[in-house]
């Protein structure tokens, strides 16, 4: 798992699950359809990504589909990054 993927998994785990929630967040865990992150919470996740990776995600690209898995989130970050993150 590369650093970016791990960072996003850890952030989701820390911010969206209770401390003793035993669910595991993987690259393919369904976050939106699985009810872990909803359309309102997406804003804070988007803000985190923009700040952390110095990118600007257009509203049109910030869809529930794009935020449904860590894998799709990582793809979104890569899409709007000018300089790739070190793996």
């Amino acid at each position: 798992m590369d650093d970016l993927t791990k960072m996003v998994c850890d952030y989701v785990r820390r911010e969206y699950l209770e401390e003793d929630d035993e669910r595991v967040i993987t690259e393919d865990t369904h976050l939106i359809t699985g009810g872990i992150v909803d359309s309102f919470s997406m804003v804070s996740l988007k803000r985190f990504l923009e700040k952390k990776y110095h990118i600007q995600i257009p509203d049109a690209a910030a869809t529930p589909e794009a935020f449904d898995t860590v894998r799709s989130i990582v793809a979104l970050v890569h899409r709007f990054q000018k300089v790739p993150v070190n793996a």
């Binding site: 992150v37 700040k51 589909e65």
Partner: protein
């Protein structure tokens, strides 16, 4: 209903008393929502008809006939009686959209207890406020939500039993019980408690301008309204497949996600999944949904995805579409016609009304952007804001008001009669919204009349948001107001004055946003925080949210003479 009925014809033939007769109810006699939505439907010959087709985001499915719903609600009712839950006690349902939520709701009502559904995304602070106020005696939940309940349990002395519906082998603590609805011995016969029309039934918490959320107290008689408005406005036919995508933690999900459709014997399908356009269209296609009751925020999110995913699915089963929660903008109505071949019918109502009160009817011409007309049996008007007299001139904005007395009007706010009395002026019930009425009798929404924020169709009170903000170590003062948003209609924006020594930056903004989200809910989370040196206040120190809100909406701020310069 005959979609060729004119509005005047509806007014002539639709009535609460006719609904009573259809349901076989005689005033003064036994009336129980749980029985009406299950036993009665079996008695009229629909025992083997599908009541609930459920699916989750992974594609797991469950199916329940009306007889299953009858027997399983009996089973839950008996289980609660065995736990010594008494008549009138509050039993909370704190779960995702799982079958136990829908069927458990009826089971609670069959015991004579009061059902208290709560949105499963509520944080522990939001949960605590509502459970404490209601002195809730028992609570159904799922394993994944149990940590939130455990966190606050010590502060809830009235809470005796926590029932976990999917505990499996999970170790439970004292006062926690595992209950497997599908696996429990079925209770074929249960002696339903003899509730009557005015017996308390459901407690729904709703936010206001001031103070913490209030418990809106409904009674069993509300079913008359919910049955009839479902029949006339949502129009489910015997062979229809109905989908209401509202969560039963909110009033739409109980009035029109349980009581309305099931009292009409309608088959409904439920998708336990977050929003995902492709998934939703797959669901409609797979189950051949015919009547779809959705919300403007969801419709606007679907619009954002465009027509391509629509065209990729066979949605020809859709016969009738309706919308609830916030005004449906004209563009969304028009898009619905383009996408699905028919318009979404906007419906207006609220927690306190318990049923649709102003609406667009099947077959009635829709004016895109209009709320529609009053439901037969509802007298609605707009009142002058100073005299509280009805405005008779078309096009003039006033306060939306209803003549009290329709069946599902709340009977009060829990432990808050003062707050309840404030909802009435000059013999009218005030909805808290403003509108105008045109020359054809159509209502046009203008906005809230108070500081409540309507975000994605959910009302959030500024007080609870500000209270949560003040709990953050960096926050000295705060104000929460609505800000216009193209998808959610409004979002929560917070203005924050920091304590000395704290630096306003993006990291702190994100930290505070997440802090509020976890304490309250994603809905209450400020989506934007502006750090300020001061907040507009009166001489007595009261924050004047109106000034901040007007700036966000680009409206004149009005009289500033009472605002103190800091």
């Amino acid at each position: 209903m005959d979609k060729n009925s004119t509005y005047d014809e509806l007014l002539a033939k639709v009535s609460w008393s006719a609904a009573e007769q259809e349901l076989g109810y005689k005033p003064g006699e036994f009336l129980n929502i749980g029985w009406m939505c299950s036993d009665r439907i079996c008695q009229i010959g629909w025992a083997e008809k599908l009541a609930l087709g459920w699916e989750d985001f992974k594609g797991n499915e469950k199916r329940y006939t009306f007889n299953d719903v009858r027997v399983l609600s009996n089973t839950i009712a008996q289980y609660l009686c065995n736990l010594d839950i008494r008549v009138g006690e509050r039993v909370c349902l704190f779960m995702d959209r799982v079958p136990e939520l829908y069927i458990g709701f009826l089971g609670i009502l069959k015991t004579g207890a009061v059902a208290q559904p709560l949105y499963s995304a509520f944080g522990d602070e939001s949960l605590l406020v509502r459970l404490k106020d209601a002195e809730t005696a028992a609570l159904f939940t799922q394993a994944k939500h149990l940590p939130k309940v455990r966190k606050i349990r010590a502060q809830l002395p009235a809470l005796r039993d926590v029932i976990v519906v999917d505990a499996g082998d999970m170790p439970l603590r004292e006062g926690e019980f595992a209950f497997d609805m599908d696996g429990a011995p079925r209770v074929e016969t249960f002696c339903v408690y003899p509730t009557t029309a005015e017996s308390p039934s459901v407690l729904h918490y709703t936010s206001g301008t001031t103070g913490q959320p209030k418990g809106a107290q409904h009674v069993h008689y509300s079913i008359i309204s919910q049955y009839l408005t479902t029949k006339v406005v949502l129009d489910p036919h015997p062979d229809d497949i109905y989908w209401c995508n509202a969560d039963p933690g909110w009033v739409t999900g109980t009035s029109y996600g349980i009581i309305g459709p099931w009292s009409n014997g309608a088959t409904q399908v439920v998708l336990d999944s977050g929003f995902h356009a492709e998934r939703w269209y797959e669901f409609i296609e797979k189950h051949r949904v015919t009547v779809w009751y959705s919300a403007p925020t969801a419709i606007r999110l679907l619009m954002k995805e465009g027509l391509e995913p629509v065209r990729a699915h066979d949605l020809s089963s859709l016969r009738h579409l309706a919308s609830v929660g916030e005004p449906l903008n004209a563009q969304a109505v028009i898009w619905g016609e383009e996408a699905f071949g028919k318009p979404f019918h906007d419906t207006f109502w609220q927690t306190e009304t318990g049923c649709i009160v102003i609406t667009n009817f099947p077959g009635m011409p829709i004016k895109p952007g209009s709320m529609g007309k009053p439901f037969p049996g509802i007298t609605a008007t707009v009142l002058n804001t100073k005299t509280y007299e009805p405005i008779t001139e078309p096009g003039i904005a006033g306060l939306i008001a209803l003549r009290p007395g329709w069946p599902s009007m709340i009977r009060g706010y829990w432990n808050n009669q003062v707050g309840f009395k404030k909802k009435f002026q000059n013999g009218w019930y005030l909805c808290g919204d403003r509108a105008s009425i045109d020359a054809d009798g159509y209502f046009w929404f203008m906005g809230r009349d108070d500081d409540v924020i309507n975000t994605g169709g959910h009302l959030v009170g500024p007080f609870e948001i500000e209270s949560a903000l003040l709990e953050h170590q960096a926050v000295q003062e705060s104000a929460a107001v609505a800000k216009p948003d193209p998808f959610h209609m409004e979002i929560v924006k917070a203005f924050v004055k920091l304590k000395p020594g704290y630096k306003p930056d993006e990291d702190l903004e994100l930290e505070i946003m997440n802090f509020v989200r976890k304490r309250l809910s994603p809905i209450a989370m400020p989506q934007e925080i502006e750090f300020v040196e001061s907040l507009p206040k009166t001489r007595s120190g009261k924050i004047v949210r109106r000034v901040l809100r007007c700036k966000e909406f680009n409206e004149p701020v009005g009289d500033l003479s009472t605002i103190m310069d800091e």
